[in-house]
Amino acid sequence: MYAFLEAFRAAMSSLMANRMRSFLTTLGILIGTGSVIAVVSLVQGFSESIKSQFADVGGSTMTLQAVNNNENFRTGKLNNITFDDVDALRYRVPGVGVVAPIMQVQTAGASYKGRTASPQIIATTTEFQAVRARYPEFGRFIVESDDKGRRRVAVIGAQLRDDLKMAENPVGEYFRIGNEWFKVVGMMEKQGELLGFSQDNYAVIPFDVGRALMGNNNEPFISASFTVQKMEEAEQVRERVKRAIRASRGLKPGQDSDFKVEAADTFIKQFEEITATATAVLGGIVGISLLVGGIGIMNIMLVSVTERTREIGILKALGATRRDILIQFLLEAGLLALLGGIIGIILGYLVGMGIASMIPGFPPAQAPLWVVIAAAGFSALVGVVFGIMPASKAASLDPIEALRFE
């Protein structure tokens, strides 16, 4: 242990004696780890922010949607989820919790005291709140009687409030969606931005009001969100839902389903796969750059061993064994690479944060601890591996020859 500490001290002092050269030697490692940390911290920040957007919608929430292929779009014969399907989902599948039909209402936008905005209009039922786990900041959400009584009420998002310049607490205000007047009964908690788009620019209205707003000229395009009662039965419930909807849509055996049932975290899973692939590709690139950095270290260490031949001879005359010399030079190479790695990590993180702050709406960069540790550990490993050759050259020097070296 003493020997190790001493070797560490000796390695440190010889690195410090040639600061400039040490720095240049480890520049390859520095740039390699720096670039990976910059990119990984951006990707991680991005994926963390997306995950947190979906964090409130757990795996227990699923969505029923119609599926349309290009042929359907070309001919205009679009598949659609019907109200019968929603009823089937609600009443005929054991294990399904609450069901919220969702209709995107196409309108001419919203207006208030001469100001206009273009929110997303969602027509749904009171269950939506339970399914999406969103809660009002002011007032209340849509309730059953709103739907039954076809009341012209709306729950809005914070962005819509700001766009229309309503009061801080907009409850009780009247505004128009299309040509209809709506009373604000609640405002939901702020969700923030995702990819630069506000998640709070919407108005929620009762489902049947939405149907009336659409008029009869259009078949409303709907989907349904629902929860499963027991998280661990999610897969079985999903299969049951598929069977029930196939039956309600009158699909024959062997016919392809024209709808899909997806867990809300499907998107997150896909996203995670993408980031994992991107990280793996980056890892490969970084592996190559660290390899090049390692070769740089090996070169300079070989030069350094030659330069310090006499010093090695002296140490051997004083009683240093091969092992002592080997450890000292291995540590030197490892430390060199580790220091480069650490500086690279810091610089890379700063660069990542800089880039993230320069792109508007981009989430802040995040460097997870495991990436930092892996980057530091890997660069130290590269140093040690590429230090083996120079170190063993140093260790196997003949003391007499080495002492005579000028």
Binding site: Y2, A3, E6, S13, S14, A17, R310, E311, G313, I314, L315, K316, A317, L318, G319, A320, T321, R322, R323, D324, P399, I400, L403
Partner: protein, 230 residues
């Protein structure tokens, strides 16, 4: 303490083999003060390397303190160098990046002695050569004579059996040479075994016994009566 029996050391120079040492028999007792002299190429450097366990003989036996070093491997030789031999070189061979104190502490590192104790022992050794006030200096801040005294302190710090000096005054002027030799005399009087390799008769005159080498053989082994009487 030192016993060499029929030592042969061969080197290959291209195709030809050449004997640097050709049947050397020698024994040196504790607290002897020996000068090893001879012209260059006489084999005295080779002999010194063998005595210092930097090298092993091609033939013959070298017993140092009852242990046969001729058959030792690298690690065992390193241990012997560390514990039994104190080297002093012509060009001092101090480590330029280290302070005087750390230079003197260095041999103790390989013995696994804790840092605080190393510093204590090194300070004592520097005291012996009168340089404890220069502990924090770098070697290049010292004069040649001071550097060689640091080297002596480094050689002494591990209390070796033999002090092995290779042309210790070769890079010094006559005044500092005299100082260094006076230091050797003093160490000898304190009981240290000293072997000095030199080609200067003045230096050899300090020693009690002179061994002259020529063509890889010992040609003369004489006592210096003037010194022994003292």
């Amino acid at each position: 303490m030192i016993s060499l029996t029929n030592i042969v050391k061969r080197y290959k120079m291209g195709e030809e083999e050449f004997k640097a040492l050709d049947g050397v028999d020698l024994s040196i007792q504790r607290n002897e003060y020996v000068a090893l002299i001879g012209p260059s190429g006489s084999g005295k450097s080779t002999l010194m390397n063998l005595l210092g366990c930097l090298d092993t003989p091609s033939e013959g036996r070298y017993i140092l303190n009852g242990r046969d070093t001729s058959t030792m491997n690298d690690n065992e030789l390193a241990k012997v160098r560390n514990e039994e031999i104190g080297f002093i070189f012509q060009s001092f061979h101090l480590l330029p990046r280290m302070s005087v104190l750390h230079n003197v502490m260095q041999p103790l590192v390989y013995r696994g002695i804790p840092s605080a104790q190393r510093a204590k022992m090194a300070t004592q050794a520097l005291d012996k050569v009168g340089l404890s006030h220069r502990m924090g200096h770098r070697p290049n801040q010292l004069s040649g004579g001071q550097r060689q005294r640091v080297a002596v302190a480094r050689a002494l710090v591990g209390t070796p059996s033999i002090l092995l000096a290779d042309e210790p005054t070769g890079n010094l002027d006559s005044k500092t040479s005299a100082e260094i030799m006076a230091l050797f005399d003093e160490l000898h009087q304190q009981g240290q075994t000293v072997i000095v390799v030199t080609h200067e008769p003045d230096i050899a005159a300090h020693c009690h016994r002179t061994i002259r080498m020529s063509d890889g053989k010992i040609v003369q082994d004489s006592i210096n009566p003037a010194r022994v009487k003292q």
